[in-house]
Symmetry: C2
Subunit: 354 residues, 2 copies
């Protein structure tokens, strides 16, 4: 089977073993990525950290008391600058937010740059300035770095890897495997802003829309949720693959069903309009400054208030609930009152959005 | 000034402020890299970790007792496979050895992949297998990962970032700033094998030579040096920029002179022959499985024995000494008995060797 055939049919990907080569969909963060990890990477890499299947590994220090979180992300977004952010801001926020999902206090970041020969130094400086600003807001220090250069045409301007370390407190260790039937699902704001902002910035579709990326470090929001520990069962940021993919991951880890009420999911008019025009499902579009919070039903209102009073949380809403189900699934109760299944993103809708 | 002018004159680089764009030499690990870091990156990133100027940051945990080391490297070597190693082995060894230079026991690695669309999955698997093997030997766990995909022509097969964490013991914290006049300099084996292996594997120069990369994790060697703590003043692996650049970094950090005796520096006949043929200085060629050890003169013979009895240390030698000098410098006493100054690598001799 040729790649052409495969990419034509990307909405129903074949097992990796049938692919001969890497396709863009393998980087989507959706089911093709997950399949590549399970069928290829998993053969070679096995560890407690990876087995946890969370965005950051929860690691026990040699004193058998302290724990740290570790997470890594390479950033390849194109274009490098877009309304509301740039690759530098993403590189810091992305890793900070992944540490936060483990309940960690983000502390140290590494920053490794792959620069393409010919990249104007003025562009590099603009990106570094943005990283500095975001690191200051997130109160993380960049403590170690690396710079590599590839020839023209062997890279794409700049790729940035950031890897982060944070401290984990004993009583605050949320994880995707901890959702329980009856729990409420809170989303910290509107969906789809980041992906749609990058898409519009590319200018390829001739769409002009006033959409800014939501890229932001969510330290304050998670700090405000700490008083609810250990009842904060899950924290997860719906980045690549969007709300649908992230909730499916959680449903699988916790072996539960998750039901969302469409009329409660915050979405901006602009994002909704562009998605409708292009036939995109906003629940599969990436976010870079949102958090999914899963907590017991009895404290949902208090937790919602805590999120709403946090920076970047003013549009938070309770969007659904966890229910017991034999097979993990995510159900959407539509505005019409019908139900539809929300699947993980399968192929690649929008390559290189982070 | 155009880039053409600059790359013609790369042996005498201009200040970064005069460059308009990134050049290959900025990734050399030599003086152009150092200048880019000092004049550009340093403006935006400042932290205790970076100020240490060592290969790994030495970080104090919140209990104010425990310390960890953190280091990062992106790997962009071409070709992906060469005699003695491949990009996967390099990615693990490079980060493990950088942790070891901080005296740390390497523990956890992240692995982040930037794959080019079209990369055969069989190639990816071969690289993962090599990473697995090297991680097992180095007793590190890959605990978190990331996979991104770029379109054909926007990458070069595969780039790998590894970031590492290790534990640091209280009495074993070598650092580039700790060389003292009178100290002896030990090199753990022959110079130049890695760079020359990659160069020959490219086949561009029509040279056929039996040179294997020295890529290897040096855990056992550093473990065998622990009994000498805290007298192990400096550990540093002479990678990009080779022996000359690394010793110049140490001389600058410690504000000392370092004198080497050329006839004592181990070098294989093959590496020497290829370097002579091409007019390369073997002391600027990258190594990936070597350690520079700087220790007090009185224990140099014992330390040498410890290194020689370690895996990958059988050809170790005492190659020089540290002396007091007003300005930091590295002097080579040549085979003819004359002296010449060994400078840091300035431009880029061999791009993309790691």
């Amino acid at each position: 089977m040729t790649e052409q055939n495969l990419s034509d049919g990307f909405s129903c990907p074949l097992p990796v073993s049938h692919h001969e080569a890497i396709m863009l969909g393998h980087g989507s963060g959706g089911s093709m990525t997950s399949e590549l990890i399970q069928r290829v990477f998993h053969k070679y890499f096995q560890s407690d950290g990876l087995e946890q299947k969370n965005d950051a590994a929860n690691l026990l220090m040699p004193d058998h008391i302290h724990r740290i979180a570790m997470t890594t992300d390479s950033h390849i977004v194109t274009p490098l600058f877009f309304p509301g952010g740039d690759i530098g801001k993403l590189a810091v926020c992305g890793t900070v937010n992944d540490l936060l999902t483990a309940g960690a206090v983000p502390k140290w970041l590494s920053a490794a740059f792959i620069l393409e020969e010919g990249l104007p130094i003025a562009i590099l400086e603009k990106i570094l300035e943005s990283m500095k600003k975001c690191a200051e807001e997130a109160q993380v220090e960049i403590v170690t770095g690396d710079t590599k250069v590839v020839e023209r045409g062997k890279g794409d301007g700049i790729f940035i890897n950031t890897t982060g370390i944070g401290y984990i407190a004993e009583n605050f260790q949320p994880g995707g495997e901890k959702a329980r039937p009856g729990d409420a699902v809170i989303l910290s704001g509107t969906v789809g802003n980041h992906g749609m902002s990058v898409l519009c910035a590319r200018g390829e579709l001739g769409i002009k829309a006033d959409i800014s990326s939501d890229a932001a470090p969510l330290n304050e929001m998670v700090r405000n949720l700490r008083p609810f520990a250990p009842s904060v069962h899950v924290l997860r940021d719906p980045t690549r693959g969007g709300l649908s993919t992230t909730l499916n991951e959680i449903a699988n880890q916790s072996q539960v069903g998750i039901e969302l009420d469409e009329k409660l999911i915050p979405i901006s008019k602009e994002v909704n309009a562009v998605c409708e025009m292009l036939g995109f499902d906003p629940y599969t579009i990436a976010n870079e400054g949102k958090m999914i919070i899963i907590i017991p039903d009895e404290i949902k209102q208090e937790a919602l208030l805590a999120v709403r009073s946090s920076k970047y949380g003013e549009n938070a809403a309770i969007i659904g609930r966890v229910f017991a189900n034999q097979s993990p699934m995510v159900l959407l109760r539509t505005i019409l009152g019908t139900h539809r299944i929300l699947d993980s993103l399968s192929g690649e809708l929008l390559p290189r959005i982070c």
